[in-house]
Symmetry: C2
Subunit: 208 residues, 2 copies
Amino acid sequence: MSKGTLTVISGFSGAGKGTLMKRLLERHGNYVLSISATTRSPREGELDGREYFFKTREEFEEMIARDQLLEYACYVGNYYGTPRSWVEEQMAAGRDVLLEIEIQGARNIKKKYPEALLIFVSPPSAQELLRRLTGRGTETPEVIQSRISRAAEEAQGMDDYDYLLINDDLECCVGQLDQLIQSAHRRMSENLEFAGKITEELQKMKGE
Amino acid sequence: MSKGTLTVISGFSGAGKGTLMKRLLERHGNYVLSISATTRSPREGELDGREYFFKTREEFEEMIARDQLLEYACYVGNYYGTPRSWVEEQMAAGRDVLLEIEIQGARNIKKKYPEALLIFVSPPSAQELLRRLTGRGTETPEVIQSRISRAAEEAQGMDDYDYLLINDDLECCVGQLDQLIQSAHRRMSENLEFAGKITEELQKMKGE
């Protein structure tokens, strides 16, 4: 059985990352979504080990000290991070792990796992992004403006990603994401065992 | 319209490269097979510009001198090479160019086009390769032995390829090859124009 891949998905708020990943998880059972560790308190209905791994500040800082996180960041006074052991267990079991994080986290993952796939999801245009943010009808103009400002900043970091997915048609985009990740299994670096084995077999056969 | 990709396909004799590429070309019209230039004489039924571009030795050596070949090699006293202009025209027209060449040529292509996809096609095992070579029933044991020796040498160079395709089930393998090449269009390096444009649009929108 071949090892699973690690895919980092980032993109503008309003690009449709959430729905995209949900559909991909439904598509086949080989995909799993990474569960973050956090120091924030569980909200109603959230379960430890399902939505998050809930940790105390001390526990989280010990995880940092022991290099047990693939990446972590601090937002509004709380830590959020990706536990290394869970991800590595899933990959060893042959599952393709999906990780939805922001650019700094994505860069850190790439440092630890150069073979990770960094994918940036974008709507087809800035105008369409604005339309989607406005169309929700739930946000104030100030919130929308701050999302746009944020997106303008995030766009500066797009070059650091390996792939760009334009989420125009959702089903088409899910298909492209699936193809991308499945194609990564064909990389020579993931098939060195096979390459070594057939080389050896041919050498033996040649000598006979 | 986005630029086409350049894909180099190599693999053991008996791996099924020919059928694989034929099926891929049938699949959709965006694929084209590169036409080699050669100094060998046309065989009956071969047309200049269809099977090969037939050249005199002087013409071929002038193409070498003018760097008009992406790669070339000499076999049994004749030159064979890949004309740069034809490949570049096809890619500029958005077509995905397929090139069936051997390892040294593949390495040369990668030097000139780092973004080229180098794909190695292998049967699932050495035993299966032997079975396919024997099964043709047209080759003498000596020819089969020399093919195996050749394959044993070629196997040493597999590591230089980006991807490995195991041709077990033909239709499945065609699908994987198609996915691989189509996914390459999603690479950030092929989408810098889009990334630049949306970044600019968002900056403008932020300033408004």
